[in-house]
């Protein structure tokens, strides 16, 4: 990400240290991950030490310090999904794409994350890929859904 664009985002949020998280969120959403150069730029402009930015960037779940895969797979591990078999869905996904939650596969096809509740408890267990919700999944259906992504 170009420093110019990073600057625009910083300016939009008023270049205040209190806006740090909002700025990082916008960079994350636009760029899909937080490159170190961008973090340094933000630190410089806001006068915030890099140690604090690093802590924030690793503390909150929304941020990633590595590039993410083309397809973002979110497995809901909320309570309602849990009692309806979310673990089995997660096991299947891990078997099929061979990565654990928090990881991205080598050809950047999938990133896998677990999330706490997608608020679709009626459809549990739920898997969301790129914002599309797949509900009432069984292990067999889960494997089928994954096959349809390139």
């Amino acid at each position: 990400m170009e420093n110019e664009r990073v600057d625009q985002i910083i300016d939009k949020h008023g270049a205040e240290p209190s806006g740090l998280i909002q700025i990082l969120l916008e960079i994350q959403s636009e760029n899909n991950w937080l490159p170190k150069s961008a973090l340094e730029r933000v630190g410089e402009r806001l006068g915030v030490p890099l140690t604090r930015i690093q802590h924030i960037a690793t503390f909150y779940k929304a941020f990633s310090l590595v590039p993410k895969g083309r397809n973002k797979v979110h497995i809901c591990m909320g309570t309602a999904c849990h009692v309806r078999g979310a673990q089995r869905v997660l096991d299947t996904v891990q078997d099929v794409i061979g990565i654990k939650p928090g990881e991205t596969d080598l050809d950047l096809k999938f990133s896998l994350e677990t999330v706490n509740c997608l608020g679709c408890c009626a459809l549990g267990p739920v898997m969301e890929i790129n914002g599309k919700t797949h509900g009432k999944l069984t292990p067999a259906e889960t494997a089928n859904v994954l096959k349809s992504y390139e």
């Binding site: 937080l34 170190k36 973090l39 030490p49 890099l50 140690t51 690093q54 802590h55 690793t58």
Partner: protein, 208 residues
């Protein structure tokens, strides 16, 4: 500044207004164990070892002495069965990380803590934050910070800053309550060249 009188373990103690219970106790010679406290640093309240019982307004509760403000008429108990039980278990949790640390050994003996109560952990760090906070609050260098959260939280040096400032300072090394070499170890790791398998573009390790 005005003075206040409180009671610690039955003793009348005079303290300045704004002092914490820990400071008041120290001035009266009552020792309360701590691991994350440092007089030059802001109270942090993370090790919970200085948990004491206070009675104010007819209510008794457990608080940490390093943060709780001393107040006129406050009654403090620094030892009780419950307090000792809490300190013992906290020490046991720490001993899983640093079973041989000298600073913990004496306390463990005092409270009867069993160093083998929990399975041993790979890291010696107990997240007291002394090195991180000292670097930020006293030295204002911000060379070492925390990354991640929960049990994955660890200390991490920023190589660029560390390479420039740490060699001549190293004041954080002896602060470490478990192993004086903990910060030193992470520091050297950060400066290794070439760094082993830099994650991403070399910022900080990805959370798993």
């Amino acid at each position: 500044m005005s003075e206040i009188v409180l009671e610690i373990d039955g003793k009348k103690v005079t303290a300045r207004e704004g002092a914490t219970v820990l400071e008041a106790a120290a001035s009266a010679g009552v020792r309360i164990p701590t691991l994350c406290h440092h007089e030059k640093l802001e109270p942090y309240g993370s090790c919970r070892l200085c948990t004491v019982e206070v009675e104010a307004g007819g209510r008794t509760r457990l608080v940490v002495a390093c943060v709780y403000p001393a107040a006129d008429g406050l009654r403090v108990r620094t030892r009780s069965d419950k307090i000792d039980r809490i300190r013992k278990l906290i020490l046991e949790l720490y001993l899983a990380h640093a079973p041989d640390a000298a600073g913990l050994r004496d306390l463990a003996e005092e409270y009867g803590a069993d160093r083998d109560r929990f399975d041993k952990e790979a890291s010696f760090c107990i997240q007291c934050g002394l090195c991180v906070r000292y670097c930020a609050e006293v030295k204002k260098k911000h060379a070492v910070g925390f990354v991640d959260r929960g049990w994955r939280k660890e200390i991490c040096f920023v190589p660029e800053i560390a390479a420039e400032t740490c060699w001549d300072c190293r004041e954080c090394f002896p602060l470490c309550p478990t192993e004086a070499l903990q910060a030193a170890y992470v520091f050297v790791e950060a400066l290794k060249f070439p760094r082993e398998d830099p994650p991403g573009d070399g910022a900080v390790p990805e959370r798993s």
